[in-house]
Amino acid sequence: MTQNIPVVKKILNENDLLAQQIRQRLEATDTFALNFMASPGGGKTSVITRTVQALRDEVRLGVMDGDIVELDLRELAQMGIPVSLINTGGQCHLDANMVFSALPSLELEALDLLIIENVGNLICPAAFDLGVHANVVIASVPEGDDKPYKYPAMFKGADVLLLNKMDLADYFDFRVDYFRRGVEALNPGLAFFPISCRSGEGFDAWLAWLREKLATHQAQRSEPNS
């Protein structure tokens, strides 16, 4: 006779357990970590590069890049930033196992901020917890204003949203209010910054948000010792 056995287990349980281990590692070294997600061409590398340029003198940072070639990392490496390539071999997302395996390639003790660049994709990366402190989602004007409606899971899981390529707003029929309405339904009160990597517009606000998060994290970390 066939018997029904209750399981009730999350399919990504294994990933979530590893993400928990990453979280513990990051806590142990006081490293604040960000996971950057966007479509291919949305501006992940450009946003990261500009962010690194702005913060490199005040924060010790490192970058982990999920990609198939090292191209994206060259500019950062030339700046003297510790970088680590996770060769994804064409995978559609980073998972906790890939990030966990790559952690030893960076000296976490020497990093205040770890930036992880995920694979360009608005679907798959949303499902995998990487154990970071915040998920940064980048949308961009040429992609269209319907993205929150087509890829709800990605926007639902974001902790901060950047709308890149605002310098092109005059050339596209991008309805910022329609876009934001979709985002608000999925993720009420989500921090939102319209930016342009090209002109630098909006970067002050985004960097202020990031500096505040870093300061809060560091303050929380030093509390138990004081």
Binding site: V7, C92, A185
Partner: protein, 122 residues
């Protein structure tokens, strides 16, 4: 797009629970998948037949319970299915809405044949 990895995770969990229960064969796997978890049923079943080969779960039927993503209007409390073009409340036109489900992604149960059943069934 990553259904192969997902299918391997499902198999791992299923085999673990089947073994714990002393099962010799898994007949059916009952999955609950929310609309926001972008997973294609046919694709998982396709990979399942490959990755489960040689295990007690080979040939098991995967049963998907799909949970639609729903929104609730903050203004009037109306519940409605998520529409991929507009999240406006169809009842009152409210635009303050929130997602109230659809990200489920778990194995609910498995139907198995236990070891002591075998002599009776063969």
């Amino acid at each position: 797009m990553h259904e192969l990895g997902i299918t391997q995770s499902i198999l791992q969990i299923v085999l673990h629970h089947a073994e714990q229960a002393g099962a010799v064969r898994v007949q059916r796997v009952n999955l609950v998948i929310g609309q926001l978890s972008s997973i294609v049923d046919e694709s998982v079943q396709f990979y399942w037949d490959i990755v489960s080969e040689g295990t007690p779960a080979h040939g098991a039927e995967l049963h998907f319970t799909r949970v639609a993503a729903r929104l609730r209007c903050d203004d009037c409390g109306h519940d409605f299915p998520l529409n991929a073009e507009d999240y406006t409340c169809p009842q009152c036109g409210g635009q303050r809405v929130r997602v109230i489900g659809g990200d489920e992604f778990y194995i609910e149960s498995i139907d198995v044949d236990l070891a002591q059943d075998v002599p009776q069934t063969t």
